[in-house]
C-alpha cells in the first residue's frame, strides 16, 4: 500500500450504507462465492467491503484477503446471487469479477508446500542448535565435554537428516533406480556419509564430527528447493486466477421456454443454448433462431464479422455481436475446430525438443566429477596410509566440501528474483526454464489481431465522407453495441447528430430509419443493395439511392510502434504471422515497419512456418493471443500471450503479459539475458570456491569449521548476487 494510492481511493472514506437485502427470493442452503476485487488496497477498503456485505441479510459471512485481492462470501444459495453481489460492490466503488471456485479449490490445499516448509523449519532449528554446540567444540572443548557435545549433536542431527533430507533421498533413489545420476545423488551420498562417519567418530571419541555441516547443507538446499517451489506455485496460482476469471457457463433454454444457467460440462448434444448479444458462443452448433453477426477474430484472426442466420453453423469462441441467437448444441466430442487445434498443440508439444536447463547441464558435469574425486581420495588415502578410518573421513570431507550448496541455490535464487521483478512489471512467468529459453531468442514472430492490434475497429475514411452524411451514420449507429457502430460514433465525436425517425435495428443486417423523408440504412452490402466486394472491413451507408462506403481497420495498440522499434533496435529479427486477409496484414506490417509478413495462414501453416524457422537454426519467440495461435505458441522455442488471450493460448504460452503492454516484451527479453548472466556468474562463484576448497580437502587438511564457513560463505554470496537482479533498473 502506498500513500498515493490512498489519496485516490474513491470508496475508502464513504462506508457503504443502506442496502440490507438484495431483493431476491431467500434460500436455506449456503454456498461459498469468491470474487476478485482488483482495486482494494487499504484498511478502510477491508472494513467497507466486509461490513457492507455483512449488513445484507442473505450474507452469512464475508472475509477479504488483501494479499490476493479477493473476498470470500458465504451466502444463501440463490440463483444469480453472484451478479447481484458484483453489481452492489461495483456501486460501492469496488469493481468486482467472479472467480470460479472449483478452479481455485485446486490450488488452495497446498500440501506439498507445507510439507517442504515443515522440513525447512526442522532443518533450520537443528542446524542452529548443532552449530551452537559445534562452536564450543571448535573453541577448544576436549575429552568428555567434546564427546558429550558430539553425542547431543548426533541425537539432534540423525533424526533431522532422516526427516528433512527425505526429498533428496527420494529424488536420488528414483534417479538411481533407472540408472541415472542427478544432483540429488551426491547430495544424498554426502548427507548419509557425513552423518555415518561422524557417528563412528563420535563412538570412537574422535576429534572431527560433521553433524553441523550435514545439517546446514540440508538447510541451505531446502531453502533452494522451497524458493524454487514458491516461484512455481506463485506463477501457477496467478495463472489459475486468470483461468478462474472466465466462468464457463451456458444458458440453456428449457422446453417450457424458460432459461437456466448451467456449467459448460452439463451441456449435452441437442440442447438449445441461448447466446445473448455481446457474449461468446459456448459450444459448436447450428442456429435455430435469430439473426446476428459473429466476430471470428479470436478463432481465426480474421477481423471481418460474419453474418449468420437460421441454419448457419457456428463455432465455439466466436463473439456474438448484434442479435440474440438460439443454437442447437452439436459436435460435442466430435471433430470441432477446438479439438483439431488441441491436437495440433499436443503434436507441437511432443515434437518440441526437450530443453536441458542450465541446472541440469551443471549437474551433468558436476555429479560424476564429485563421485570420482571422493572415491579417488578414499582409495588413495586408504592404500597410502593403510588407515581406512582416515580415508573415509577424508572422502566424507571431500563430499561435504564439494556439495552443491551454492549450485543448489544458484538457479532458484536467480529465478525467484527475476520472476518477482517480472511480476511487478506485469509479466507472469509460468515456468523457470522459460526464462533461460527466452534469453536465447533471436527471432520474434507476432500475431496481428488482438496482439499488435487492439481488436477494436477504427473508421479510416472519416475525412473523405461528407460530415452531413457522417451525421446520419452517427444517428443510425448510436445506441448499437456493434463494434463498427461504436467506431463510427467514436470517429464522429465532433459532429452533430442528424434527426432521424422510425429508427429500427435489424439483427445481423444493420439499422434503418427515415431522414428528411428519405429511407436511410447502415449495414451490410447485400442489405443496402450493393454488390461491391471490399478487401477490408466495410459498412455501407445508404441515403436514398446514394451508397457510401465506410471502411474500418483494426486499430494498432498505442504502444505497438514503440515496442517494435525497441525490438528492432535490440537487433531481433521480426515477423508478422496472421490468419487475417492480405490487405490488413500488409497495412499493419508497413505501419510498424516489420519486414517479413505472412497473411491468411491456418493454424497448421503457422506451425509449419515456425518449424521452418527452427530448421534454419533460429530460436523463435512467438507472441499471440487467438485460438489459431495456440499450436504456434506451443511449437515455438518460447511464447508469450496477453492476458486477454483465449484459454487455450494462455495455457500454451510460457509467459503471460498481465499488463497487456507490448513494451514488456523487450523488457522481459532484457531481464532474461541478465538472469542467464547471473546464473552463469553464480556457477562460477560456486566453481571458484570448489577449486580452492577441494585440494585442501583432498590433502586431508579440511576441518568441520572450514566446511561450515565455506558452505555458508558461498551460499550467501550466491544469494546476494541473485538478489541484485531484483533491484536493477
Amino acid at each position: 500500500m502506498s500513500d498515493t494510492s490512498l489519496a485516490v481511493c474513491p470508496a475508502c472514506v464513504a462506508m457503504p450504507k443502506g442496502e440490507t437485502a438484495l431483493g431476491v427470493a431467500r434460500s436455506d442452503s449456503l454456498r461459498r462465492v469468491e470474487l476478485s476485487l482488483p482495486t482494494i488496497h487499504c484498511a478502510a477498503c477491508i472494513s467497507g467491503v466486509e461490513s457492507g456485505l455483512g449488513n445484507l441479510e442473505e450474507v452469512k459471512g464475508a472475509r477479504v484477503n488483501l494479499t490476493q485481492k479477493r473476498v470470500a462470501i458465504t451466502v444463501e444459495d440463490i440463483p444469480g446471487i453472484e451478479h447481484r453481489l458484483i453489481e452492489l460492490l461495483t456501486n460501492w466503488g469496488y469493481p468486482a469479477r467472479e472467480l470460479d471456485s472449483a478452479v481455485l479449490e485446486k490450488t488452495r490445499n497446498d500440501q506439498h508446500g507445507r510439507d517442504l516448509l515443515a522440513r525447512l523449519a526442522v532443518a533450520g532449528f537443528a542446524a542452529m542448535n548443532v552449530m551452537l554446540l559445534s562452536v564450543s567444540v571448535w573453541s577448544g572443548a576436549t575429552d568428555a565435554t567434546r564427546d558429550l557435545m558430539h553425542w547431543v549433536s548426533a541425537a539432534i542431527a540423525l533424526p533431522t537428516v532422516a526427516f528433512a533430507g527425505m526429498p533428496f533421498f527420494k529424488n536420488a533413489w528414483s534417479a538411481l533406480r533407472v540408472g541415472r545420476l542427478n544432483m540429488d545423488v551426491p547430495i544424498s551420498l554426502a548427507l548419509i556419509l557425513a552423518s555415518g562417519v561422524s557417528l563412528l567418530e563420535t563412538m570412537e571419541g574422535g576429534e572431527h564430527a560433521y553433524f553441523d555441516a550435514a545439517l546446514s547443507l540440508t538447510f541451505f538446499l531446502l531453502i533452494g528447493r522451497y524458493l524454487d517451489y514458491r516461484t512455481r506455485i506463485a506463477a501457477r496460482s496467478a495463472a489459475v486466477e486468470l483461468a478462474a476469471l472466465e466462468v464457463h457457463r451456458a444458458t440453456r433454454v428449457l422446453p417450457d421456454g424458460s432459461h437456466e444457467t448451467v456449467p459448460m460440462d452439463a451441456v449435452r448434444e441437442g440442447d438449445l443454448i441461448a447466446v445473448a448479444a455481446g457474449s461468446r458462443v459456448p459450444v459448436d452448433g447450428t442456429v435455430v433462431d435469430g439473426r446476428s453477426e459473429l466476430d471470428p477474430s479470436m478463432l481465426t484472426g480474421e477481423t471481418m464479422p460474419e453474418a449468420v442466420g437460421e441454419g448457419a453453423h457456428v463455432i465455439a469462441g466466436m463473439m456474438n455481436l448484434t442479435g440474440p441467437l438460439v443454437i442447437r448444441a452439436e459436435g460435442i466430442g466430435e471433430e470441432t475446430l477446438l479439438t483439431q487445434i488441441t491436437r495440433l498443440v499436443e503434436a507441437a508439444e511432443v515434437s518440441k525438443n526437450k530443453y536441458t536447463s542450465l541446472a541440469e547441464k551443471a549437474a551433468k558435469i558436476y555429479a560424476p566429477l564429485v563421485h570420482i574425486l571422493a572415491a579417488a581420495a578414499f582409495l588413495f588415502w586408504g592404500f597410502w596410509s593403510s588407515d581406512w578410518r582416515l580415508a573415509i573421513n577424508i572422502a566424507a570431507a571431500v563430499l561435504i566440501i564439494t556439495c552443491p550448496c551454492a549450485l543448489g541455490l544458484a538457479v532458484p535464487a536467480v529465478l525467484t528474483a527475476a520472476s518477482g521483478r517480472l511480476f511487478r512489471n506485469g509479466v507472469l512467468l509460468k515456468e523457470g526454464v522459460a526464462l533461460e529459453r527466452l534469453a536465447e531468442v533471436d527471432t520474434i514472430v507476432f500475431d496481428k489481431t488482438g496482439t499488435l492490434t487492439t481488436g477494436h475497429p477504427r473508421l479510416t475514411n472519416a475525412d473523405q465522407v461528407d460530415p452531413d452524411d457522417l451525421a446520419i451514420a452517427k444517428a443510425l449507429a448510436m445506441g448499437s453495441a456493434h463494434p463498427l457502430s461504436k467506431a463510427i460514433v467514436a470517429a464522429s465525436a465532433g459532429i452533430g447528430v442528424a434527426t432521424i425517425t422510425d429508427h429500427s435495428e435489424e439483427p445481423g443486417m444493420g439499422s434503418r430509419a427515415m431522414w428528411n423523408g428519405q429511407d436511410v440504412k447502415l449495414g451490410r452490402a447485400a442489405w443496402v443493395g450493393t454488390d461491391d466486394t471490399p478487401t477490408q472491413t466495410t459498412a455501407w451507408l445508404k441515403i436514398g439511392d446514394r451508397v457510401i462506403a465506410l471502411t474500418f481497420e483494426d486499430d494498432l495498440r498505442p504502444e505497438a510502434a514503440a515496442a517494435i522499434r525497441s525490438l528492432h533496435g535490440a537487433g531481433y529479427q521480426l515477423q508478422l504471422l496472421s490468419g487475417d486477409a492480405e490487405a490488413p496484414v500488409r497495412h499493419a506490417a508497413d505501419a510498424l515497419d516489420i519486414p517479413v509478413w505472412h497473411a491468411a495462414k491456418t493454424p497448421a501453416e503457422k506451425v509449419a512456418i515456425l518449424d521452418a524457422l527452427k530448421a534454419d537454426g533460429h530460436k523463435v519467440l512467438m507472441v499471440g493471443d487467438g485460438l489459431n495461435d495456440a499450436a504456434a505458441l506451443a511449437s515455438a522455442h518460447v511464447s508469450m500471450s496477453p492476458s486477454t488471450a483465449v484459454d487455450a493460448s494462455r495455457t500454451s504460452a510460457d509467459l503471460i503479459l498481465v499488463s497487456n503492454d507490448l513494451r514488456e516484451v523487450a523488457d522481459s527479453l532484457r531481464l532474461a539475458k541478465a538472469s542467464k548472466r547471473r546464473i552463469l556468474e553464480n556457477f562460477s562463484i560456486a566453481a571458484t570456491y570448489n577449486l580452492i576448497a577441494v585440494p585442501i580437502a583432498l590433502l586431508g587438511f579440511a576441518t568441520p569449521l572450514m566446511a561450515a564457513l565455506a558452505m555458508s560463505g558461498s551460499s550467501i554470496m550466491v544469494s546476494l548476487n541473485a538478489m541484485r537482479l531484483g533491484r536493477q533498473k
Binding site: I46, R63, V64, L66, R114, A121, V122, N129, V152
Partner: protein, 52 residues
C-alpha cells in the same frame, strides 16, 4: 562443566518452543494474507474470527 547438564536441555527446549510456535502459525493460516493482517489492526472493528 556440570552446568551443561541443565543448560543444553534449556537451550534446546527454548529452540523447540520456537519451532512449535512456527508450526502453529503455519497451521492457523497466519501467512495467507499478511497484507490484510497488517491493515486490519488499523480498523477499530474487533476481528473475532480470523479463521475462514
Amino acid at each position: 562443566m556440570n552446568v551443561l547438564v541443565y543448560l543444553i536441555p534449556v537451550s534446546l527446549g527454548l529452540g523447540l518452543l520456537g519451532l512449535v510456535a512456527f508450526f502453529w502459525t503455519v497451521k492457523s493460516n497466519q501467512y495467507d494474507d499478511p497484507e490484510g493482517h497488517a491493515n486490519r489492526i488499523l480498523s477499530d472493528r474487533f476481528d473475532d474470527e480470523p479463521d475462514e
